[in-house]
Amino acid sequence: MKKVKVLILRTAGTNCDYETQAAFELCGGFVERIHINALIEKKDKIFEYDILACPGGFSYGDDIASGKILSNEVKNKLGDKVKKFALSGKPIIGICNGFQVFVKMGLLPDPNIFEQISTLSYNDSDKFECRWVYLKTEKRINGESNCIWTKKLPDIVSLPVAHGEGKFIPNDKKLLDALNKNNQIVFRYTSKDGGKPEYPLNPNGSVEQIAAVSNIKGNVFGLMPHPERYVFTLQHPAREGFDSEYGWGKVIFQNAVDFVK
């Protein structure tokens, strides 16, 4: 069996790195949390890894806008490496602040263009929201998700969100249509029975209830909810999971590790 190596990128203000590490390890990944300064020193080190994760937090305090400073730093200092990693088809995940970083550097929704064409803006409620939400898994490829991270999930899954800037807005209608057409919308906020969600079920007012997107290929994945906070049933408010021990968030990490294997 192949040893699956995971790089968790961290910097000042990263704060979901430990639980993201624990989630990958639970699925058999070998994880290193690496400070961006160390990666900039040895840029090609990135290619020693099979999976790249940018975890949640408040990188550089989210000064200017969430994820903005780190996105500039990654793009300016590691941009070509990260783009190459993405285009090679290796799994990449950006969770919450990591998603904000990816969107602002343009790694999502299209790493080929690699320009910012969408944003994650302030929640409609104008406040930070920490709560559980229901997500509808889009399954349009033979009844399965287009994204390698989200296979084998039920139609509706719940995960926690915790953010102040999570309202996904694409630049224009054309992009929105393309995201829909190319099956790049991975999760949408929904109600318990799959209906249209009002606040707080849509916690931020995202366009078309978008909670997660991927590139066309489905290997680069960005989401506002926190799957790493739901790897055990115990973490669920009503202690539900896909079996008596594990939560649905674990499946997301398992998918990537299994994909590499």
Binding site: N15, E19, H35, F58, K127, R131, V231
Partner: protein, 803 residues
């Protein structure tokens, strides 16, 4: 020889008493005449006047904030009850709270009352550190900055315990004035309580969230007594390897200051906290926080810790470098080069550098051989780390600036020279009369229940809780809001952290809970203290904690201790702490007092209502056994455990209905401890589906919360409730706030085993989970049947605090 190039010489040798007092006041030294005379004597012996930095250093070291002179000083106490009793305390703390801890002598208490936090055992290799602090004065003047730096400071206490713990959770408790107060009633120069509340919450949110530490437990208490002097308690819990708990300082070790730069913010924070607030209070005493700097320090220092690169660490809190370095060097002596301290901007006088309370700074004790390696670790993560001096052998504090000696004092004088004051304390025990029987109609009971649920001190705190990332780190397995569904919720009794990301393979958890009830203290501070201790334990027990593995922290916020009645009420509370600690077999492991919570309006002085916060921390053997408070399944039986007594004194019900008389809830430790142990056994055997304690608002409020958090109904027969006084009316049964009571839900098939465990305790089956959303309270005896809709009550509970 001392030089006066970079400092001023302060004339003290020839001053009269009046001039000494003036000197203290003009320089915000907060020193008494006795203390000023002691300083004068010291310098008379040396035949030289002190420098400004020497005087400032003494003022910091001797401040109430750093030294706790009142609780460790001499107190002549007189108590008036049926007979008059007198007692002299030479050190109230050592003779009450600390004494109980010493007598209990728990092997699993690893560090008590000596470090920045208390530490108990988690497992064979790790300990749990917990500390709660107050940041009241700063939060009154600048609520956002005050609360942000409050939580920042509590976190640094955890980073600065032993060789540093990793923070896992925060807790925050606030006392505010009524947010609905009309603007014209706000004292001149003071902020409106709503503005204070919103800014305090924002401050904690922005700092705690950016640090990546979940705020999992807390309380908010509204009372007009906190209008001009809010209380902001911030606490942090962390995990620390057992072999990193002890600090050591050797002569020749180097002093490394790490993190934030030093600026003019927070000058005189320590001494200003001993002065009453008024409209002239100076905002520059409030510090400015930057959580990302602290987060960087945290990330890098744990690396350095695990490489054993330093021998001790402490945080710069009150008194800044002067306190941090002064305390570390107490036994050795120290020389500090103040010109080496990195500054935010130029222009600071040496004494300002020395006592500034600029945030995010930690001081490390580094063996010379590790000099380069430790700095490299910090620099790789963009953290500034600069050596500013070293530990010596001369037992002196020597401060230099550009090679000039600007201070030279004996450590012994600095740390032990403060004269012990004698204060006087009196307490008159108030007689508590039973209220006139409360007879209420169905409509009146229904109205009272709704009024209670929407009362500021009972209503949902969701508006606050959801702004805090209470699930970051992924370890919050018993959450502050608990509901069976997204959108509905009830108040959790305690939070449980499952530290699986730090301790691989563990099944254990850490429970955090608290108790606070200033309303009881207005009538009887002994009962208040006893009640809040019991409440904190009860909350922990309700989620499945074994109280034999729980420890508590005390935080006293009181008024001016120079007033004998105020100090007397504190002595009473401290005695309750001793009695309860012994009776429940629960040790105190750390604590803090904030006195002088006094403010003046138009020349008249007001003290806050005394507030004792008890914060409990404990270890849970198996997190999968823990339970939550929402009801689970229809037809399950509901039991009320514990005796309901006619105790409406100080209750929210009494306040709402303007009932003046009433007996304040008492604590019956033997009975209560027995019940908590039985609850633990039953939960551990999976016999309990849901559990909630009865607190503010009593039985009716608690059972309603369990129902609406589940979106379910419940049918309660109030005639079945076990009462001490058979003549209690349904309203008294429903709303009495007797301590020691739990509501539990039990499956039919587990009933027998459950009853076996509770043999010997007072309990009764009082109802069942309904199959619709109706919450019903019925007394056939009194021909009363109250019927409410769960969703409707939930909305009432949620609507009060929804900004």
């Amino acid at each position: 020889m001392k030089s006066a190039v970079n400092c001023k010489i302060i004339e003290i040798l020839n001053l009269s008493d009046n001039q000494l007092i003036k000197l203290s006041r003009n320089n915000v030294l907060s020193l008494s005449i006795e203390e000023m005379r002691e300083i004068q004597k010291y310098f008379e012996k040396l035949k030289i006047n002190p420098t400004d930095i020497e005087i400032e250093t003494i003022a910091q070291a001797w401040s109430e904030h750093c030294k706790h002179k009142t609780l460790t000083g001499i107190i002549e106490y007189t108590e008036y009850a049926d007979v008059q009793t007198k007692r002299t305390y030479n050190n109230l703390l050592k003779e009450t709270i600390f004494k109980a801890t010493v007598e209990l002598n728990k092997k699993w208490c690893l560090s008590v009352f000596k470090d920045n936090a208390g530490v108990i055992e988690f497992d064979s290799k790790n300990g749990v550190a917990f500390k709660v602090e107050t940041h009241n004065h700063p939060s009154a003047l600048e609520p956002y900055g005050g609360s942000a730096t409050g939580i920042g400071g509590a976190i640094r206490d955890i980073l600065g315990v032993g060789l540093g713990a990793k923070p896992l959770a925060n807790t925050d408790v606030f006392c505010f004035g009524d947010p609905n107060t009309k603007a014209y009633k706000i004292p001149e120069g003071m902020h409106h309580p709503k503005r204070i509340a919103k800014s305090v919450v924002s401050g904690v949110r922005d700092y705690g969230n950016r640090m990546g530490i979940p705020t999992v437990n807390g309380a908010v208490y509204f009372d007009d007594g906190y209008m001009a002097n809010p209380l902001v308690y911030c606490g942090t819990m962390g995990i620390i390897p057992k072999n990193k708990i002890e600090k050591k300082v050797n002569s020749e070790d180097l002093i490394l200051v790490v993190g934030g730069r030093t600026g003019r913010d927070g000058i005189h924070g320590a001494t200003f906290s001993s002065i009453q607030l008024d409209q002239e209070s100076d905002v520059s005493a409030v510090q400015i926080g930057n959580p990302i700097i602290e987060k960087k320090v945290l990330d890098a220092m744990l690396k350095a810790r695990d490489l054993n690169l330093y021998r001790a660490v402490t945080d710069c809190g009150a008194g800044g470098l002067s306190s941090a370095v002064g305390e570390l060097g107490e036994k050795t002596g120290v020389v500090v080069y103040l010109d080496k301290v990195p500054l935010k901007y130029s222009g600071l006088s040496p004494w300002e550098i020395w006592i500034s309370e600029a945030q995010e700074r930690m001081v490390f004790v580094v063996p010379p051989k590790n000099k380069n390696r430790i700095v490299e670790i910090f620099e790789k993560e963009n953290v500034e780390a600069v050596f500013i001096g070293k530990f010596t052998r001369d037992k002196k504090l020597t401060l230099k600036y550009n090679n000039d000696v600007i201070a030279s004092m004996d450590m012994e004088f600095l740390h032990n020279g403060v004269p012990k004051p004698t204060r006087y304390a009196v307490y008159k025990i108030k007689e508590e009369k039973l209220q006139k029987p409360v007879k209420m109609s169905v409509g009146e009971i229904s109205k009272a229940l709704k009024a209670l649920l929407s009362d500021l001190n009972i209503c949902s705190k969701e508006w606050i809780i959801r702004q805090y990332d209470h699930e970051v780190q992924g370890q919050t397995v018993v959450k502050p809001l608990q509901g069976n569904n997204i959108g509905i919720s009830g108040p959790g009794d305690a939070a449980v952290i499952f530290p699986y990301t730090v301790i691989k393979g563990t099944k254990k958890g850490i429970v955090l809970s608290n108790g606070l009830n200033p309303q009881y203290g207005k009538i009887n501070t002994y009962k208040m203290a006893a009640s809040v201790i019991e409440e904190s334990l009860r909350n922990a027990a309700a989620v499945g904690a074994d109280i034999e593995k729980v420890a508590v922290l005390d935080n006293f916020c009181w008024g001016n201790p120079n007033k004998p009645e105020i100090l007397g009420s504190l002595v009473r509370a401290a005695n309750a702490c001793y009695d309860m600690s012994k009776a429940f077999d629960i040790p105190f492991i750390s604590g803090k007092d904030s006195l002088n919570n006094e403010y003046s309006i138009g020349g008249k002085k007001y003290s806050i209502p005394p507030a004792l916060l008890i914060s409990a921390v404990g270890v849970i053997e198996d997190v999968s056994k823990t339970v939550t408070m929402p009801l689970k399944n229809k037809d399950n039986k509901i039991f009320l455990i514990g005796i309901t007594r006619n105790e409406l004194g100080g209750s929210v019900f009494a306040k709402i209905n303007n009932i003046k008389d009433g007996v304040v809830p008492d604590v019956y430790p033997k009975e209560s401890k027995d019940i908590m142990k039985k609850i633990y056994r039953a939960i551990n055997k999976n016999l309990i589906e849901s559990c909630h304690d009865c607190s503010e608002g009593g039985f009716a409020v608690a059972v309603s919360e369990m129902a609406f958090a589940a979106g379910k109904g419940v049918v309660i027969n109030t005639d079945a409730v076990k009462t001490e006084d058979v003549s209690m009316s349904p309203a008294e049964i429903l709303f009495s706030e007797s301590n020691g009571r739990f509501i539990v839900e039990v499956k039919h098939k587990n009933e027998f085993k459950f009853q076996e465990i509770f043999k010997g305790a007072v309990f009764a089956e009082v109802g069942y989970v309904g199959d619709n959303e109706n919450i019903v309270f019925e007394s056939k005896k009194n021909k009363i049947k109250v019927k409410e809709n769960a969703e409707n009550l939930l909305k009432i509970w949620q609507s009060t605090l929804n900004w």
